[in-house]
Every structure is written in structure tokens, then in C-alpha cells.
């Protein structure tokens, strides 16, 4: 189980001093699913820093964090995705062994085939979550992705960290 106490010392100190409350969702938005799940269109959104091999790596040099995103086509072969997350704060070997650990596209394909969900969206989105200065994420890139998902007719977004 991960708690602050499981983090390396420097990260633990940082997390304990970080002003998370400054970014709390207030009010908390709530969109009830307006249809049965087996009719819903689903997209995956991750902060695990995965991307196509031909896409640019996430930029590790940006001081407050890279707030950009990568569009992942639904047709991708999941295990061919690269992972360029900069954080030394987690063990990367699990995701490198199986991308589904943080980007569970093959699992959602199975749920689609079983009829548990209606269908997968044609695209999914990936960010690199090491963002300590999230203002641009809040004001720009998260809104861009949300609007694209809306235009795609997505009903449910399943979000995963790393």
C-alpha cells in the first residue's frame, strides 16, 4: 500500500509540504452516467507518461512539469507504447513489463468484447503526471482534452496514475 511513509525521504518531505488544497476541486463536479454502461462510450486517460514510439518523449527539463498530452489511437498495440515518465518516485519495471498496468487498453477491449461497456473511443490520452505547477494543466491542457472527449461523444473516462 502506498502512503507518504512509503515514499523516498525527499519525496515524502515534498509531498507533506505541497499545497494540495490550493488545487482542490470546489465545487466537486458531478455528471451521472445517463445511460447503461453497456451502451456507454469509454476512454482511458492516464498520467503514466505513455506514448507512441513516434511521438515526442515527455519533456523532463520543464521545471514545473510537462503539461502536454499525447493522443493514443484505440488501434495501438498496447505493448508497443513507450513510457517516458520522469519520476524516480515509483518503480517503472511493472509498467515496462505490462503497459496495461497503467494503461489498461487490452482489459477494456475485453470488456468491450464481453459487452460490459458499449464501445471504446477512437482515441485515448496520456499525460506525464510529474506536474508540480499545474496551472497550465488546469487552465489549458486538461480543458482541451475534456473538450475533445466531449466532441467524441465519450460517456465515461477511466483515469489512471502511475
Amino acid at each position: 500500500m502506498a502512503t507518504y511513509d512509503d515514499l523516498v525521504f525527499t519525496h515524502r518531505l515534498f509531498m507533506k509540504g505541497y499545497p494540495f488544497s490550493r488545487y482542490a476541486l470546489d465545487p466537486v463536479p458531478c455528471t451521472p452516467l445517463g445511460k447503461p454502461l453497456h451502451e456507454a462510450r469509454v476512454a482511458i486517460v492516464t498520467s503514466a507518461g505513455v506514448h507512441l514510439p513516434e511521438q515526442e518523449n515527455f519533456d523532463h527539463s520543464i521545471k514545473g512539469g510537462d503539461t502536454s498530452f499525447r493522443e493514443i489511437p484505440n488501434t495501438v498495440e498496447t505493448q508497443t507504447l513507450c513510457e517516458s515518465h520522469r519520476s524516480p518516485g515509483f518503480d517503472h519495471t511493472g509498467i515496462q513489463t505490462d503497459r496495461n498496468l497503467a494503461f489498461p487498453l487490452d482489459r477494456f477491449r475485453e470488456l468491450e468484447a464481453e459487452g460490459v461497456i458499449g464501445e471504446l473511443n477512437d482515441r485515448h490520452f496520456s499525460f506525464m503526471g510529474s506536474i508540480v505547477m499545474p496551472r497550465k494543466l488546469i487552465d489549458e491542457t486538461s480543458v482541451q482534452v475534456a473538450k475533445m472527449l466531449r466532441e467524441d461523444g465519450v460517456d465515461v473516462a477511466f483515469l489512471t496514475p502511475a
Binding site: 500500500m1 502506498a2 512509503d6 515514499l7 509531498m15 494540495f20 488545487y23 482542490a24 476541486l25 470546489d26 466537486v28 463536479p29 458531478c30 455528471t31 452516467l33 454502461l37 492516464t46 498520467s47 503514466a48 512539469g65 519520476s87 518516485g89 515509483f90 518503480d91 519495471t93 511493472g94 509498467i95 513489463t97 505490462d98 496495461n100 498496468l101 497503467a102 489498461p104 487490452d106 482489459r107 477494456f108 464481453e114 460490459v116 461497456i117 499525460f127 503526471g129 506536474i131 508540480v132 499545474p134 494543466l137 488546469i138 486538461s142 480543458v143 475534456a146 472527449l149 466531449r150 465519450v154 460517456d155 465515461v156 473516462a157 477511466f158 483515469l159 489512471t160 496514475p161 502511475a162
Partner: protein
Amino acid sequence: MCVQTVGLLSGAIERENISTISISLLREVTSIIHPPRALFVPFPMGFPLGAPNDPGLQHQVIRAGLALLERTDVPVLETFGNSERNVA
């Protein structure tokens, strides 16, 4: 910071009238950010769906997350292994 990023993304997406479920690896962060529906999983950082090459466990986590879609008493923060109910 991945957990904060997921929470902030969930807020933006839910505001576009899309229902969201967030997996959380750090309860301390999620309990402050307040994404609408979050499932805290008792796994190490870097292992949000439990274990690599374990489709059964990964499906359990996903289904427990999807079960939260019924909830409108936001913010919801459930713990995997406690009260999840599988869908379908």
C-alpha cells in the same frame, strides 16, 4: 504528483458532462483534491492496477472502479477490497 494530475483531469472532464472514475495510489492526495469518484488501491506507486501480466487482478480493479459510476454522492473515495461490487 501523478495522483494530483489524475484528480485535476477528472475535474475538467466531468465538467464537460462526462462521468469519471479515478484510480488513486495515495489516499492523502485524493482526499484533498476530491475527484468525483475515486478508488483507492492498496498497491505500490507504479502499480495502479495491481500487478503486471495479471489480467484477473486488473479486471477486478477496473470493475470495482466502474461500479462507482452509480454514485452521485460525490466526492466518492472507496478502497479496493472493501466495498467494491463488480458490474455485469
